[in-house]
């Protein structure tokens, strides 16, 4: 299972605010393998959501390329390919209160995608598909005739997932799917997502602002800072051997569920000025197998040595 389902190369996304141009994402490259969960972690405003939306074609990419199953899906593409993308790539949104159409019944919300692409033979099949999707996310089929505001946050998020599932997607982009939920039901949703991944062989691009959540669901983790990926590695590897100072700062902010250890945990602050990029701009380098870090030559040498040292001890 090493085939690449999605690849992003040198992605750049600009926003125009009034007359000013604002670059939200720049030089981002990564590959997403079928069946894995890649988490995109960064603080708010770092551009992680923008990457997700660029893949969903909600924001146009200014340069670079995005390929889904090897085909370009950015810029102007044939309608057929877009149709394929819309079916096979689904998104789960951050705020379950905001992401459901309040004036539509659950039935419509869940079957919206089916309707858009005519993915059913007849009414009965559509209803059956909706029911199945609801059951799959642990909701009662009767809920189909209800309105979103009749549900709790966790239920609504599961409706959002059902809406995605009904399309039988291959790739799910989950944009901070749990950050707006009560802590008590976060696990519920995470478990659901894990189960679905298992059952349906889904691929996730999981967007989060918090490393602690993603550790347990991700195969790989990418850290993004100010629109640029700074580090990407296997999840465990990243936690073990964070190379980029920003990653280290993020990691130090993860609370440890042991008061004694937490007390001695030193929080590291990250100062972008610590880099000396004036003379030599950084590049996206693979410092060890599968471990990419944004760095210039000097840093690369320094950090891989550091990794070495650490690895040795």
């Amino acid at each position: 299972m090493s085939d690449t389902i999605l690849s992003v190369k040198d992605l750049k996304v600009d926003f125009r605010v009034g007359r000013r141009l604002f670059t939200a994402v720049q030089g981002v490259s990564f590959e997403l393998l079928r069946g894995e969960t890649l988490s995109l972690v960064g603080e708010s405003g770092s551009g992680k959501t923008t990457i997700g939306r660029a893949i969903m074609r909600l924001h146009p990419a200014s340069s670079g390329e995005i390929r889904y199953e090897g085909e370009r899906v950015d810029g102007r593409i044939p309608a057929e390919r877009e149709r394929h993308l819309r079916q096979k790539v689904q998104m789960i949104f951050q705020d379950p209160m905001a992401s459901l159409n309040e004036r539509a019944k659950i039935d419509y919300i869940v079957s919206e995608g089916l309707l858009n692409f005519g993915l059913f033979k007849d009414e009965a099949e559509r209803r059956q598909k909706v029911e199945r999707a609801l059951l799959e996310v642990g909701l009662l089929p009767e809920f189909a005739s209800r309105f979103p505001h009749e549900f709790s946050g966790g239920q609504r998020q599961r409706i959002g997932i059902a809406r995605a599932l009904v399309m039988e997607p291959e790739l799910l982009i989950a944009d901070e799917p749990i950050s707006a939920l009560d802590v008590s039901i976060r696990a519920q949703v995470i478990n659901l997502m894990n189960r679905l991944k298992r059952d349906r062989k889904l691929t996730y691009l999981f967007i989060a602002h918090d490393l602690s959540v993603v550790r347990f669901i991700s195969d790989r983790i990418a850290v993004i800072h100010r629109g640029r990926l700074v580090e990407l590695a296997q999840a465990e590897r990243l936690f073990e051997r964070p190379l980029h100072p920003y990653t280290r700062a993020l990691l130090s902010a993860v609370p440890v569920p042991d008061p004694d250890m937490e007390r001695v945990n030193r929080h590291v602050a990250y100062d972008p000025l610590m880099h000396d990029y004036g003379t030599e701009p950084p590049l996206w380098r693979e410092l060890e197998v599968g471990h990419f870090v944004l760095s210039n030559m000097r840093e690369a040498a320094e950090w891989s040595a550091l990794g070495q040292v650490r690895g040795q001890t």
Partner: protein, 310 residues
């Protein structure tokens, strides 16, 4: 003091069975938007009373001409039958040609209500569609805003006066004249509303699902505007009736042999000094319709605000 649960008698508590399906139900509160709106609305006796007024006037206006064979334009050649004050046989009296004001009033109510309804439907319909497109389709914003600026700056009298000259005075001319300016405000209003919900997450979600524009507007945008639009429509009706009165005043209203409230008011005003009742009936009805629609519209809009649903 320390709780010692172990000391509690066995059997006092039973472990509750856990039913996942039942647990789902707890998160769910039965609530229907429209039912709540309706309940909030009818809780106020004034609004119900005024709604009743509208219903009664509509009924009189639309049923009277069907069930009565009194011709509102029947002229009495007997001059003694002219300008009769209210009396049996002529509950509202007669006008300067012996025409029965009771019949004229209800025929007039029908004409004016019909005018108001058609204008309201057209204004709101056009305003809604244009406004939704204008707000939702980013590329349209620029040209539409420019169009709005232009239309908004063409003085309304120019249109109101020009059209009857170009098209002849008539029922549909008035409708065109009033609609030609009426929809703009509503479109602007809808556009602003749409912009405020355009980028809401549920719309992004729908876009991710590949929902086409027409369904975005009809399912995602317009349902959010329904209550506001109903209120706009409710206010457009009395506004149209008032405009018809005004147009009649400057001589560009409906043809005067058409029985309408505007024509009745203007004819009544001419004779006001002598026969005040000829002005009083149509004015009272215009006022009652206006007040009713105005208050009912407002109450409805209040009632449709979920924050007011208890």
């Amino acid at each position: 003091m320390k709780n010692d649960y172990a000391q509690l008698p066995v059997g006092l508590f039973r472990p509750a069975p856990f039913d996942e399906a039942a647990a789902e139900l707890t998160g769910y509160a039965p609530y229907s938007y429209w039912r709540s709106t309706f309940r909030t609305f009818i809780r106020n006796p004034i609004s119900v009373g005024l709604l009743l007024v509208i219903v009664v006037f509509c009924a009189m206006g639309f049923l009277y001409p069907v069930f009565s064979n009194v011709d509102p334009n029947r002229v009495d050649l007997e001059t003694s039958q002219w300008n009769l004050s209210p009396q049996s046989g002529h509950p509202f009296g007669t006008d300067g040609l012996g025409r029965d004001l009771w019949a004229r009033t209800w025929h007039g109510t029908r004409t004016s209500m019909l005018l108001g309804f058609i204008i309201a439907v057209l204004d709101v319909g056009i305003g809604m569609v244009v406004g939704a497109l204008w707000g939702y389709v980013r590329r349209l914003d620029r040209p539409m805003t420019e169009l709005y600026n232009v239309l908004n700056n063409v003085p309304q009298p120019v249109i109101l006066v020009l059209l009857p000259y170009i098209l002849r005075p008539g029922f549909w001319t008035i409708i065109i004249a009033l609609c030609s300016t009426g929809w703009i405000g509503i479109a602007r209003f809808v556009r602003n509303k749409v912009i405020s919900i355009r980028d809401a997450e549920y719309n992004v979600a729908s876009r991710c699902l590949g929902t086409p524009l027409h369904r975005m507007i009809s399912r995602n945008v317009l349902p959010y505007l329904v209550s506001v639009l109903i209120m706009e429509a409710a206010l457009t009706i009395p506004y149209s009736i008032g405009s018809e009165v005004y147009l009649g005043f400057i001589g560009l209203g409906l043809p005067l042999d058409t029985v309408s409230l505007g024509n009745l008011v203007n004819l009544g005003k001419n004779n006001f000094m002598l026969y005040p009742y000829q002005l009083a009936w149509p004015t009272a009805i215009v006022a009652a319709i206006t007040i009713s629609f105005y208050i009912v519209g407002n109450r409805f809009s209040d009632a449709s605000d979920p924050r007011n649903h208890v």
